[in-house]
């Protein structure tokens, strides 16, 4: 693990000692090289996890997420070039340092073996994210968004700390590897219900659960592009990852406690999708679509069947790449139109045909076109929920319908139709942007060819 973490830390000197012309290229190529280090992790032989030390390990659940995290850093760097063009050199370096520190924390979060260490790092990721949102956001509302982001997450996660200390005392260890063997069934009492809530709520807020999701659209809309990307792609998945890890010790309370949450998710999925149909703000639309996709993941995790776990893991990875790509596309529109309003960016297909292709592909993956991994994720979740209760198909089916509608509505709105006259003199798309989009799309296609590496623990 150190061979990933230490190079990541060494990115700091690389930025601060690079001169102004080489800063982007150095960072991008170096962080791409770190990617190579994570590739061997995908080779998970047998059922055993790769235990690097007592502190760090990776198994078939964490390595795809780890891979996603590391893959996203160069993409974030590429995406924010235009956004940082007018900033001074020191500020650029500071911004990049924030991204790198976030990256470092995330890598350690996904590979920690101890729950307390996981908790500390989980909280630590808030700091750089908060700074990125509140310092580099575009509007004054970013301060409010930062507040929401911080307080929702903190209020959700403080009970987790208490719960973890309690579990540490009662079980004697918080090591995942040991927990599998040591856990005892929870007693059916009020206190264990509370313990369950304390353990799960932190992640529910992070995912976010419908009802606790208010911070997400705000944070997404106000954050700079790199912030939105990492939020949608990785930070939300921290919640899913934590839930997948913790549900092991929460049996059998989950069976009873899951009902209200599954209901809430199924309901919220429809609600957030219908909100998407009425959005005028491009970034807000993508943010709400994240909420509705993540609701599926929560449903899957709470249902606790092998199929649903597979679906949840696959959907997390697929959604990470897709939503990040959508944010990049929204950003490339924003850089040209200078507004997030969709109505102002009509008919772009006539001007930027290649970009329109990327838009099309991104929308298609977002609506889960077979055989993309998005579909595999969604399909498995729907299958699992169908076998849990046949009635859920009405909700999940309806959601599928609305997802397709708003994805294509977004596509039609921005790419089709008559162009407006104020976009006559827009810049052509840069190679940088096209590379960025293809680097989102390529992993999606390649994972589609071999989805089993992102199927998680139960594959």
């Amino acid at each position: 693990m150190l061979k990933i973490i230490i190079p990541t830390i060494m990115l700091f000197p690389v930025i601060w000692y690079s001169n102004s012309t080489l800063i982007w290229i150095n960072m991008t190529s170096y962080s791409l090289m770190i990617n190579l280090m994570t590739l061997p992790l995908l080779n998970q032989a047998g059922n055993n996890s790769n235990n690097f030390s007592l502190t760090f390990f990776s198994d078939s659940l964490s390595s795809p997420l780890l891979m996603l995290t590391v893959w996203l850093l160069p993409l974030m760097i590429m995406a924010s070039q235009h956004h940082l063009m007018k900033e001074s050199l020191t500020r650029k370096k500071l911004y990049l340092s924030m991204l790198i520190s976030l990256q470092m924390f995330l890598i350690m979060t996904f590979s920690a073996t101890e729950l307390i260490l996981f908790y500390i790092l989980f909280e630590a990721t808030l700091i750089p994210t908060l700074i990125i949102i509140t310092r580099w956001g575009n509007q004054t509302e970013r301060l409010n968004a930062g507040l929401y982001f911080l307080f929702y997450t903190l209020i959700g996660s403080l009970p987790l700390l208490v719960a973890l200390i309690y579990v540490q005392i009662s079980l004697g260890s918080l090591n995942y590897l040991v927990m599998n063997i040591w856990f005892q069934d929870m007693s059916s009492s009020w206190s264990s219900n509370l313990l369950w809530l304390a353990c799960i709520m932190a992640f529910m807020v992070k995912m976010p659960l419908y009802g606790l999701h208010l911070w997400l659209p705000k944070a997404h809309v106000e954050a700079p592009i790199a912030g939105s990307m990492v939020l949608a792609a990785v930070l939300l998945k921290l919640g899913g990852y934590g839930m997948l890890r913790l549900t092991i010790i929460l049996n059998p309370t989950t069976k009873i406690m899951a009902y209200p949450f599954i209901m809430l998710c199924l309901w919220g999925m429809i609600m957030t999708s219908s909100i998407c149909l009425r959005q005028t703000d491009l970034k807000s639309l993508i943010a709400y679509s994240s909420v509705s996709h993540m609701a599926l993941v929560i449903v899957a995790i709470l249902m606790q069947t092998p199929w649903s776990f597979m679906g949840a893991t696959a959907l997390m990875i697929a959604h990470g790449l897709t939503s990040s790509m959508l944010f990049c596309l929204a950003n490339s529109n924003y850089e040209r139109i200078h507004s997030r309003t969709m109505l102002l960016a009509r008919g772009l297909q006539a001007f930027l045909p290649l970009m329109a292709t990327w838009w099309l592909l991104a929308s298609l993956t977002n609506l889960a076109l077979p055989p993309f991994i998005n579909l595999i994720g969604e399909l498995f979740v729907i299958m699992a929920s169908f076998s849990w209760s046949n009635v859920t198909i009405t909700m999940t089916g309806l959601n599928m319908l609305i997802t397709a509608l708003y994805s294509l509505y977004m596509l039609t709105m921005t790419q089709r139709g008559k162009f407006t006259y104020h976009i006559h003199n827009i810049k052509p798309s840069y190679t940088r942007e096209n590379t960025l989009m293809s680097m989102h799309m390529l992993p999606l296609i390649m994972l589609t060819l071999n989805p089993k590496i992102i199927m998680g623990l139960t594959y």
């Binding site: 208010l214 198909i393 397709a404 139709g417 989805p451």
Partner: protein
Amino acid sequence: MNLYTSFMLITLIILSLPLATNILYVHKNKAYASYVKLSIAYAFITSIIPTTLFIFSGQEMIISNWHWMIMQTLKLTLSFKLDYFSILFVPVALFVTWSIMEFSMWYMHADPNINQFFKYLLMFLITMLILVTANNLFQLFIGWEGVGIMSFLLIGWWYGRTDANTAALQAILYNRIGDIGFILTMAWFLMYSNTWEFQQLFMLDNNLDMLPLVGLLVAATGKSAQFGLHPWLPSAMEGPTPVSALLHSSTMVVAGIFLLIRFHPLMENNNNIQTLMLCLGAITTLFTAICALTQNDIKKIVAFSTSSQLGLMMVTMGINQPYLAFLHICNHAFFKAMLFMCSGSIIHSLNDEQDIRKMGGLFKAMPFTSSSLIIGSLALTGMPFLTGFYSKDLIIESTSTSNTNAWALLITLIATSLTAVYSTRIIFYVLLGQPRFISMPIINENNPLLINPIKRLVIGSIFAGFFLSFNILPMNTPQMTMPTYLKLMAMAVTLLGFVLAMELNIMTNNLKLKIPSSTFKFSNMLGFFPTTMHRPIPLLNLYMGQNTASSLLDLTWLEKTMPKIMSKTQMTLSTTISNQKGLIKLYFMSFIASALMMFLLIS
């Protein structure tokens, strides 16, 4: 028998070559369009070989070659099923598409993105072939969704037009409603049969629940535009004419019926689902035939006639005759593609005029197109010994001799007669009488790119039905004997339709213009279906999205009850409890006072 697999794979490879070479620019010295057309023609030729072998030997086969993944107990592989249906359908689809491609080289020659257009058409065809040859539900779903998305792209081809975009979105909406049924079926099969492979599904249990079968029916209703989910089909006429031709003949719309044909082994013992299919099909075929009667847009009439034929295929499924329905799919592809091409030719020659009231007398100006149009219409109505006859007549015969719902039969017969009526109407208004178009357009139908494909399909429309029914093996016992009046029934109602329509059309020329009756309005306004369904329901949903989901729940309740109320209480509490009131003067005063006091005390 190795020729089977190898030639079928060669067909698929040849078809997908243009997609690959497009990136490599190997076709530099040749137009991409003709390259695509050629590859489809070659694919057609190679696909004939397995078909001939099949006709000769009657052997079916499965190609199973690539393990995608194995999850728990479910194995997903890439596998192709070369059975009766797929092996006969592939050459038909390729033959028709070949002609359509050649036609679009003429029709779309001025389009700046013609290469892209051909790529889309080709992908449309490929996804359809994936659907047809799929041997498991997942692979079928890939084709199923692929067809849907490609239709979205092609219907919305002229993306500057709002109508085209709306029509494209509408197609996706209705198809997705059908997809819910498909997903339901997939989930059900996974749960109870634990497999998605067709053989295993059919082998396991033939007396299923209604649920998966209803799911399949919903899926087919969406894709094949059966009543309830039909409005997207006429709207899809916003796309370019070659797209309509392809969409309506051999791809997309027949996919739904094809799905039901595929799953026929599960349905043949289930009377309830058959009754459902029968009634749904009968309603569709009548309703859309009625809608076709008063349309003025030539493409819309042809579109509604497709819809009506799809209803007829559904009726055939309802009387448990999948092989007959399949034969009708194949026959229908020929003359329907040709009808669209003829109308495309007319529309193009008349400067994009689609209204049949502004045509007339084209028999003199465009003899070739006119005769093809007449042949196509006659084939559509089931004129003896043209292509349509071989399936349509059989369908009517087996419906009337089967032990079935008399209402459904009656409705089907009326629809059959109406087919003749609207066909006559097209012929009468477009071809006969005096010209009613402005004399400016230069009418020219002598381009070989236009004539050759239509010629091929004319031959197809005349002989294909004979060849197909002559060569394929009889799969079910045909009805050998029946009373003469039943035997002549189909013909009689069709003739009745012809005569009636001719009389009425001639009569209308001599009548005064009257305020349209309500029956006319019903037909012309498509049964008020779009008016009643397309306005209120989406409006309700969008209102719900805006008012309930966004304004009420998100921006008011969730915002007020959690973050806002918390900050409010904290603020109020802290101001009430705290001693610190911000009275700076007083604080300093007390500080000075105490300092003075201390000073005084010390001194």
